[in-house]
Amino acid sequence: MLQLVFFNVTNGLIIGAFYALMAIGLSLILNLSGVINFAHGGFLVIGGYLAYTLTPYLGFWGALIIAPILTALIGVVVERLLIRRLYGRDPLYSLLLTFGLAFIIEDGTRQIWGANGLPVSVPPALTSPLSYEFFFITGYRMFMVATVAIVVGLLFVLLRYTRIGVRIRAGTLDLETVAALGVNVRALRSLNFAVGIFLAGLAGVLAGGQLGLEPTMGDGLLMPSFIAIIVGGVGSLTGTLLGGLLIGVASGLTAVFFPSASEAVIYVMMAMVLLIRPRGLLGEEGMFT
């Protein structure tokens, strides 16, 4: 039993890392621009499909790098054309806009790539498990965790030490003052959005290797991302990272004892957090009340 628990906690961390990747992208966009991006799952799907299309030409590793970049570019176009007009308005509107956008993306991907799932193979170098004992720690999952760790690490370094990063962080707290200080806020927002979407696209590429690639695959991953943000605390990226890992572990642990509740438990967690400590674990008081 203890071994089972240990396995599931470890496994939960692996799943949680993936949730965290999605959630951090979502959180970035939410913090700076106040936009609730319901289409985040859609961008994940785009990332996965683009990688699938590019792999025959660029190979797995090439697609891994290029697909998220392309997705981010699409994100920038969307931000420029659509989302930019909603800044400053009630968050309801951005939520609805991205809700509609999600419809368009799902239907669009179905139209372009077909309704049937597409087979995605990972390079054989990554497939073997760590050992007989730890069979669930496959090379691919380790690779996923490593990728997430590297990318998130780079993101934190970017935010901490580069000028742009400082501006983004400052903008999260008080965008008006940042603008008053002469920073091109428009460009900053676009860049921030692009980074968030890049993470979604990357998540999509990684997901393709784990899951079946089909137009509705983003749906099941959107809600856990929101919950990770709420649990970890709106406004705090570290919190979101923590939130993602926590819900992954919670889900894994619940699977041992109450398998059918392993998805419901994350909603219960969110409800608890919201009622007891609404700002989340590491969130700041007063953000969105």
Partner: protein, 318 residues
Amino acid sequence: MTPEQGKRLAVLAAVWGALILAPYWMPLFGGYTALGSRVLVLGLGAMSVNFLLGFTGVLSFGHAAWFGLGAYACGLALKFVAPSTPFGLLAGTLAGGTAGTLLGALLVRRRGIYFAMVTIAFGQVFYYIAFQWSSLTGGDDGLRGFTRQPLDFRLIRIDLLHNDVYFYYFVLISFAAAVAIMAVILHSPFGRTMIAIRENERRARFLGIPIELHIWIAFTLSCFFMAFAGALYALLNNFADPRMLHYSLSGDFVIMAVMGGMRAFWGPLFGAVVFVVLQDYLSSVTVNWMSFIGILIVLIVLFFPRGVLGLLRQRRMA
């Protein structure tokens, strides 16, 4: 009577005239009576959400929970307690409304995105319960085994099950009753206070208005209306299924309210007409109807945020 009042009365007469005569003019345009019933029920749902959204300024994105609860309660009442349509409606309304009242007390301290997210969370919890407790709710297959019962008035018996037109009028009367109560509330001092809270919460608070209490009451009322709509929906379909609790349905209601015009009383009904008819029609002609609906939502949000009725009102004032 001022020309303004005269105009309003004319609009009201037009709307009700169209609704009353619907089973007769709808088929001419490729409609069918069941579509009309669906529009009314979902329209009532949208108006219930708008009670909170448009008139109090509070965004609940999980309101389908009360809708679904009402539906399930109505179905369970019809199936296990008594084969009576009015009783089913009552049971549904009370169940959903009471649940909303109790949970509302917990929720009212939060606002904005938090409020929206908590409501989604609770909605999803109910969704999972409906899914898992399959011995009671039928799980994924939904709650079956009940149908609308005829209305028995001793002298006349109205068959609601086999006659779609009769059922449509039943729904219309129920709709009218709910809407009348809503209108009374909104024109009362309480309703004015709700609008004050929407306009500027801080100022309202400074005026000494107990904000949380008012929001809780508004929330409770909207839950009762929502549950009533849900019960009607169960009667319309003769089943209740978990999707009636899902946040995507909540999203649909909000979209209807925004599309029609959040600030107008009839706005959400208008939005429901457009949304339901459009979805029904589009999904028959093209497999890409989702894209069209998505594009419509995007256009509405970007260019017509006040909805259709809001636009008309703007033109009048401009």
